[in-house]
């Protein structure tokens, strides 16, 4: 029996799809705004992030002023950093933690003397019985809101969801000859997981990565929108929507710009993820044929 097709080139084949390329362009546009915006903003508008440009909610300048009279465009250009950074960090925690937990569970599932599998998966069930946002709210209520607390909570709540996928993928790999051979040679479990199992489950993990990133962006932005994430006076898209939504009729750009940025970003990442999932399914579908 040959080893299953290692999804080498999965990314390359994914980006041959038009959908993935459109998604990549959308994502890159927003990332570019978030990275270059803090520098470009003051140059374009002449106002700093915390400068007062005029009276609150006036249609001055390109996009008007916000609830405190600061320039909307400047703050929009400066506000993409937190959501990107926090979402990436939460996704990283979820994927790394979930991959490790899932591989350990899946690898020990066949071993009747080990209770690791049921221990990990039942522990995950408890975390899965809260909607992710509600668990984050519980943490904020107890520990106060701080960016890194959100990263930690969102990351941890991703873990059991990623672990389920990683476990399932590991189960299908664990019985393969090359794993059994490594086992027979007495290769330690840690090395088997890292060098034999992990490279063969990167397909499903990549799909999870995209999915969790899309969700993380949504959760981080939502919590800031609720006033429980990034705190004032920081410039942040979710917070900016919260601050300016009462004046939606007078100065819509204070809401519309950050809403559109988040929308384009999540649609972009989701289009890439969907293409990845299709490509990954095709790969595993072709393997037995």
């Amino acid at each position: 029996m040959s080893a299953p097709a290692v999804p080498a080139g999965l990314l390359r084949r994914t980006f041959r799809r038009r959908q993935a390329r459109i998604g990549a362009v959308l994502t890159l546009v927003v990332v570019a705004v978030a990275l270059l915006g803090p520098v470009l903003g003051p140059l374009l508008t002449g106002y700093g992030v915390d400068d007062f440009a005029g009276r609150p909610f006036r249609p001055d300048g390109v996009a008007g002023t916000d609830d405190l009279g600061r320039d909307v465009l400047t703050r929009f250009l400066a506000g993409g950093g937190p959501v990107l950074l926090y979402a990436l960090a939460a996704t990283a925690i979820g994927i790394v933690g979930g991959a490790i937990a899932g591989m350990l569970a899946g690898y020990s599932a066949g071993d009747r003397t080990s209770r690791l599998d049921s221990l990990i998966m039942r522990g995950g069930d408890v975390l899965l019985s809260f909607p992710q946002l509600v668990l984050a709210l519980l943490a904020v209520a107890v520990l106060g809101s701080s960016g890194w607390l959100l990263v930690l909570v969102i990351g941890i709540t991703h873990i059991p969801r990623v672990a389920r996928v990683a476990r399932q993928a590991t189960l299908s790999v664990a019985g393969q000859d090359y794993v059994l051979a490594a086992r027979m040679y007495g290769v330690p479990r840690r090395r088997i997981l890292a060098t034999e199992v992990l490279p063969n489950i990167t397909g499903p993990l990549m799909v999870e990565l995209g999915l969790r990133l899309t969700y993380s962006i949504g959760y981080v932005a939502s919590l800031s929108f609720l006033g429980l994430g990034v705190q004032p006076p920081a410039a942040d898209w979710g917070l900016q929507i919260n601050e300016n939504r009462i004046a939606l009729i007078v100065t819509p750009w204070g809401v519309l710009l950050p809403v559109l940025a988040i929308a384009v970003l999540t649609v972009g990442t989701n289009m890439i993820t969907d293409a990845l999932a299709k490509e990954s399914a095709d790969t595993t579908g072709e393997a037995p044929a």
Binding site: P131, S222, F225
Partner: protein, 323 residues
């Protein structure tokens, strides 16, 4: 006992255990809280005597496990604790709000279910056509958007900048039931429905496509049955199990999504109460609401799994055969 009952009983037991652990987790979280709960309720100006009296009254001097048991006992008998912000029992605060939130969920489920099932079926029978790819493109875009983004865009479209035909926030006065002015329900329900529909459409399309490619459908076609009968009598029943599961999971998802949507539309439901309580760090209210939401979540997941078990012909026939 038949296999069917055993499996359902087992699943039920797991849910009860999970709920117990969840309640333990929620209670333990509040032990991490810095400061004195009695002082939090009474405020900074309270005299030490009053703080001491309330500490004793709330039983805060007792060990944590005793307090957990009495809290759990209270929850089971309808006593959800005391709100520091409203200075009243939590159950009083939540009474009308639970009904208001339930109304949102029920309306959303009633509207989104038939629409999503119809769209999913429609897409599955037109696979590869332009309609199909337009539908899957639209659901891909909608599925990516966080609920508040959809809500804000709807407000811009229907309530403020483009059209002004619907209220952008809840306009009912406090005490007035939310259904007294039905127009204020339109945008919250539409937002939730638009978030839920794409998932159910995709799931319906996927399972129905699989069924349409299966041997038994081919057989029905070869018998010469009209395509409509093939679809309604043979393919659709096959998808009931997985789709019922997705529907239940979407309802569970709504329990979380309703929080953001209620905040956006200032809708007087449980979700908005949770945001207020978190912002005020009104711990007993947060405890009560997170437990209610988690319980709902666990129950709907249970329903999803039971639907899955009931719809699995292997299990059904094992029990029907008296195994």
């Amino acid at each position: 006992m038949s296999l069917l009952t055993t499996m359902i009983m087992k699943r039920l037991l797991v849910s009860v255990l999970v709920l117990l652990v969840v309640s333990l987790l929620i209670f333990a979280a509040t032990l991490l809280l810095p400061g004195d709960p009695a002082r939090a309720i009474l405020g900074q100006q309270a005299t030490p005597e009053r703080v001491a009296a309330l500490t004793e009254q709330l039983g805060l001097d007792r060990p944590a496990w005793e307090r957990y048991l009495s809290w759990l006992g209270g929850v089971l008998t309808g006593d959800l604790g005391f709100s520091a912000a409203t200075q009243g029992p939590v159950s009083e605060l939540l009474g009308g709000r639970i009904a208001a939130s339930a109304l949102l969920l029920v309306l959303t489920a009633l509207i989104s279910t038939p629409v999503a099932l119809a769209l999913g079926t429609w897409a599955a029978t037109r696979r590869g056509t332009r309609t199909d790819s337009a539908l899957s493109g639209a659901s891909l875009v909608l599925a990516a958007l966080p609920e508040f983004v959809i809500g804000v865009l709807l407000v811009i479209l229907f309530a403020t900048s483009v059209l002004q035909i619907l209220p952008s926030v809840t306009i009912a006065r406090p005490g007035e039931p939310v259904w007294a002015r039905p127009e204020q329900l339109v945008l919250p329900v539409l937002t939730l429905a638009l978030v839920v529909i794409p998932y159910v459409v995709r799931m319906t399309r996927a399972t129905l496509s699989e069924a349409l490619d299966a041997g038994f459908v081919e057989m029905a076609r070869l018998k010469g049955l009209p395509e409509r009968t093939v679809l309604v009598r043979h393919a659709v029943p096959h998808t009931i199990g997985p789709v019922a599961q997705v529907l239940a999971l979407q309802l569970a998802w709504l329990a979380g999504g309703v929080v953001v949507v209620e905040f956006l539309f200032r809708y007087p439901g449980v979700g908005q109460a949770l945001i207020d309580a978190v912002a005020n760090r009104d711990v007993q209210v947060v405890q009560a609401i997170t437990l209610i939401i988690a319980a709902f979540y666990v129950l709907v997941n249970l329903a999803a799994d039971v639907a899955g078990i009931l719809a699995d012909p292997r299990i059904r026939h094992a029990s029907g055969g008296g195994a």
